[in-house]
C-alpha cells in the first residue's frame, strides 16, 4: 500500500534526491508513493513486468524501449534513486537554472541530456551510433507489422472471430519493408555528415536543432 511508504523514505535521502534531480520535496514524496504503488512485489525495486502492467504504457508502440531506458545496462531491477534519475530528464527547464554556474555539472534535464535520452531510444545496442538497422527496427515498432502479417499471426493464435472481422473491416495502412527502408535511407542521408552511414550523437543534435526539445521532452510536474 502506497500509504505507509512515505514514512520509509528518510529525510536525508529526500535531500540527496532533491540535489541530484531538482525535484521539490512534495514532488519526491508523491513520486515515491507512485513508485511503491507500482512495486507489486514490495521489495523496493521495480521490474520490467511492473511497468508493463500499466495499460497506457503497454499500448504505446515504443513502450518497451521506454521501459528499457529506466534500467541500467544489464540490470533487471530499478530502485527509487534510478527511477527518479530517469524521470528527472523530463523536468521542465526553469529560467533560473539556465544561468547557473557553468562549472557545475550539467543538470539531468538540460537540453543535451533530453536529446541524449531520445538518442538512446534509437540506439538499441548502446554503441553511441544509430545504424540503419537500428533505425529500421525502431520505425517498424512505431508503424506496426503489415496488416496481412498481423492477421496471419492472429489466426495462428486463434483469436476470436469478432476481432478479426473488425480487423478486416479496417482499411489497412501497409507500410511495406521497402517503404520503411527508403525512409531510413533518406533519414540517414540527411543526417550523416561524416559518411560512416550511421548517426552519431552530435549529428543527432544537429538534425534536431530547430526542434523545441525543451517543450517536447518535458512533463509538467505539479507542486
Amino acid at each position: 500500500m502506497g500509504s505507509r511508504a512515505s514514512t520509509l523514505l528518510r529525510e536525508e535521502e529526500i535531500e540527496e534526491i532533491k540535489k541530484e534531480t531538482g525535484f521539490s520535496h512534495s514532488q519526491i514524496t508523491r513520486l515515491y508513493s507512485r513508485f511503491t504503488s507500482l512495486d507489486k512485489g514490495e521489495n523496493g525495486t521495480l521490474s520490467r513486468e511492473d511497468f508493463q502492467r500499466i495499460p497506457e504504457l503497454a499500448i504505446n508502440p515504443l513502450g518497451d524501449r521506454i521501459i528499457n531506458a529506466f534500467f541500467p545496462e544489464g540490470e533487471d531491477q530499478v530502485n527509487f534513486r534510478g527511477f527518479m534519475r530517469t524521470l528527472a530528464h523530463f523536468r521542465p527547464i526553469e529560467d533560473n537554472e539556465k544561468n547557473k554556474d557553468p562549472t557545475a555539472s550539467e543538470p539531468l534535464n538540460s537540453r543535451t541530456n533530453k536529446l541524449l535520452f531520445a538518442f538512446r531510444l534509437y540506439d538499441l545496442d548502446r554503441d553511441d551510433k544509430i545504424s540503419r538497422d537500428e533505425l529500421l527496427q525502431v520505425l517498424r515498432m512505431m508503424v506496426g507489422l503489415n496488416m496481412f502479417v498481423s492477421q496471419v499471426l492472429r489466426m495462428m493464435v486463434g483469436l476470436n472471430m469478432f476481432v478479426s472481422q473488425v480487423l478486416r473491416m479496417m482499411v489497412g495502412v501497409n507500410i511495406s519493408d521497402e517503404q520503411l527502408g527508403s525512409i531510413a535511407d533518406r533519414t540517414i542521408q540527411e543526417a550523416d555528415q561524416n559518411g560512416d552511414n550511421s548517426i552519431s550523437f552530435n549529428e543527432f543534435i544537429k538534425v534536431l536543432e530547430k526542434v523545441d526539445v525543451e517543450q517536447k521532452m518535458s512533463i509538467r510536474f505539479l507542486h
Binding site: M1, G2, S3, S33, P61, V213, I219, L222
Partner: protein, 472 residues
C-alpha cells in the same frame, strides 16, 4: 483462593445481568427497529460527531508537522502532473507544419519519437487505470492506522485518541456487529427456508419480500451503514434490470435494503452457498455454475426469461464485472444491455472519510475484508436512482452501455473511463497497440489513403472500448 468463592456467585450474577442488559438493548435499539423499518437517528448523530473528531485530528497533525518544521504528506488528489491535452496526431502534425512541401513520400521526422516518449513517461508517472484498483488516499485522517501516512506527526493527545478509538472499535463495535450479522444471516436462512415450503402465490411473495427486507436491514446495521437514497421515484420496477457501479460486495446489501431485487451471480461454496440456496427457495434468483458463466447465450436467455415475467423483481447487475475503487466507472460489459428491457441506472458513492469500502480482492480475502469493514467507524454512502432508460433506435448495445455509464458517472461525480475493469488482473489486448501504430502510420503516409475507410477507422479508434470481452 478460598476468598474468591463468595465473589463467585456475585461474579456470575454480574455477568448474567450485564449480558441480559446488553442483549435487551441490542434487541430494542437495533433489531426491532430493523424489523419494523424505523430508525432512531442514532447513526446520524454518530456520524456527525465522528466528523468533528476527524477534523480535529487532522488539524493537530498539521500543527504538529509545522512545529517540527517538517512536511506533511498530502495525497495527490490534484494529480502529480498536468498532462498535454493534444492527441498524438496533432502533436506530430505540428512538427510537419513547418515544412511546406506536400510530398507524396512518407515523411518521417526523428523528433517524432519524442511524442511517444513523453506520453509513455507520463503514463508511468500517472495513468488512469492502475490507480483505480487500490484504495483512494484521503486528505484528512480518520483515526484508522490503515489510512495514515504521517506517523511521525502524531502527538501524545492524538495517540491517546487513536488508542481509545481502537478500543472502542475492536472491543465494542466489532463484537456487536458480528452478533448482528450472525443474527441477520441466520434469520435469513431459517425464515426463507420455512417460507419455501409454502405454495407459490401472493402470500409467499409477500412474506418473502418482508423477510428479505428485514434481514437486509439488520445487515445494514451490522455494518453501521448510513445510507442516503435520492430520487426514490426512479426506483427499479419489476421486469427491468438495475445496473450500478461496483465497489464492494456490500453494494448488494445497500441496494437491497431499499427494495427487492433478484440477484445474479456465481454459485459459491461454503457459507455464501448456503445463503444462496436458502434465498432461492422463497424467491427467484439467478445463480450460475462456474462453467455456465462463459456461455453467453445461456446467460442472456436466463435473464430474458426472468425479465419477461412481470411478477419477478428487477435483476441487479454490476456490468463492470469487478470491484473498482469508487473514483471512476470503468467499461460496462454489454451483455445486460442486449436484453432489450428497461434499464434502471443507479449510482453509488461512498464517503471515504469514514472507512474505505473498496474491496481490493487481490490483497484481502472476503473474510478479512469483512472484518476490516466491521472494525471501521461506519460506511457512509449515497445512492442515486437515475431515471429509467431504454435502448434507442439505431443505438447498439455498446453505445447504450456507454450512455448509461456516462449518466452514472456524472451523477456520482466519478471519472468516466473506457478502460476495461478486467485490466485489474489481465493484460491489455495487442489490438490497442496496433491502433496506435496504425494512427502513426497514417500520419507518416499522409492523406493518400482512400477516404472511404477513414471515417470507419477513426470511429473505431476513438472508442477503444469495443475490442474486448464478449462475456458478462
Amino acid at each position: 483462593m478460598g476468598w474468591l468463592l463468595p465473589f463467585d456467585n456475585l461474579l456470575c450474577m454480574a455477568l448474567g445481568i450485564s449480558f441480559t442488559v446488553w442483549f435487551t438493548s441490542l434487541l430494542v435499539f437495533i433489531i426491532v427497529p430493523a424489523i419494523l423499518g424505523v430508525s432512531f437517528g442514532i447513526r446520524k448523530l454518530y456520524m456527525n460527531s465522528l466528523l468533528k473528531i476527524f477534523e480535529w485530528a487532522t488539524l493537530r497533525m498539521e500543527r504538529g508537522a509545522k512545529e517540527k518544521n517538517q512536511h506533511l504528506y498530502k495525497p495527490y488528489s490534484n494529480g502529480i502532473i498536468a498532462k498535454e491535452m493534444s492527441t498524438l496526431e496533432q502533436e506530430i502534425q505540428e512538427l510537419r507544419s513547418s515544412s511546406t512541401t506536400l510530398s507524396s513520400e512518407p515523411e518521417f521526422e526523428m523528433a517524432d519519437i519524442m511524442s511517444f516518449c513523453r506520453r509513455g513517461v507520463e503514463s508511468i508517472v500517472d495513468d488512469e487505470v492502475t490507480k483505480r484498483f487500490s484504495a483512494e488516499e484521503l486528505e484528512s485522517w480518520n483515526l484508522l492506522t490503515r489510512s495514515n501516512y504521517n506517523f511521525r506527526h502524531i502527538s501524545l493527545r492524538l495517540s491517546v485518541l487513536w488508542g481509545l478509538g481502537l478500543l472502542i472499535r475492536y472491543s465494542f463495535l466489532l463484537p456487536l456487529r458480528i452478533t448482528l450479522a450472525a443474527t441477520g444471516i441466520g434469520l435469513l436462512v431459517v425464515l426463507t427456508t420455512i417460507v419455501g415450503f409454502l405454495p407459490s402465490g401472493r402470500l409467499r411473495t409477500y412474506l418473502s419480500e418482508k423477510i428479505h427486507m428485514m434481514c437486509y436491514r439488520i445487515c445494514v446495521r451490522a455494518l453501521t451503514a448510513i445510507i442516503t437514497y435520492h430520487n426514490s421515484e426512479n426506483k427499479p420496477k419489476n421486469g427491468g434490470i438495475c445496473v450500478a457501479n461496483h465497489t464492494t460486495p456490500i453494494d448488494v446489501i445497500i441496494l437491497a435494503n431499499d427494495g427487492c431485487y433478484s440477484m445474479v451471480g456465481q454459485v459459491h461454496g461454503g457459507l455464501i452457498g448456503v445463503v444462496q440456496r436458502a434465498m432461492v427457495k422463497s424467491s427467484p434468483h439467478i445463480w450460475f455454475e462456474r462453467s455456465e458463466v462463459k456461455d453467453r447465450h445461456l446467460v442472456a436467455k436466463m435473464l430474458s426469461n426472468h425479465v419477461a415475467d412481470k411478477t419477478n423483481h428487477p435483476i441487479l447487475i454490476f456490468p463492470e464485472g469487478t470491484c473498482i475503487n469508487n473514483t471512476s466507472v470503468m467499461m460496462f460489459k454489454k451483455g445486460s444491455f442486449e436484453i432489450g428491457c428497461t434499464v434502471y441506472p443507479v449510482a453509488i458513492k461512498y464517503d471515504p472519510r469514514f472507512g474505505d469500502a473498496f474491496w481490493n480482492s487481490g490483497k484481502f480475502g472476503m473474510v478479512s475484508y469483512l472484518l476490516r469493514m466491521m472494525s471501521s467507524w461506519a460506511i457512509v454512502c449515497s445512492v442515486w436512482y437515475l431515471p429509467p432508460v431504454n435502448r434507442e433506435e439505431g443505438e447498439d448495445a455498446v453505445q447504450f452501455a456507454n450512455r448509461v455509464k456516462a449518466a452514472i458517472a456524472r451523477q456520482g461525480g466519478l471519472v468516466d473511463l473506457l478502460w476495461d475493469g478486467g485490466l485489474k488482473r489481465g493484460k491489455v489486448k495487442d489490438t490497442f497497440r496496433e491502433e496506435q501504430q496504425k494512427l502513426y502510420s497514417k500520419v507518416l503516409v499522409g492523406d493518400q489513403e482512400d477516404q472511404t475507410g477513414r471515417s470507419e477507422y477513426f470511429t473505431i479508434c476513438s472508442v477503444t472500448g469495443i475490442f474486448t470481452h464478449n462475456h458478462f
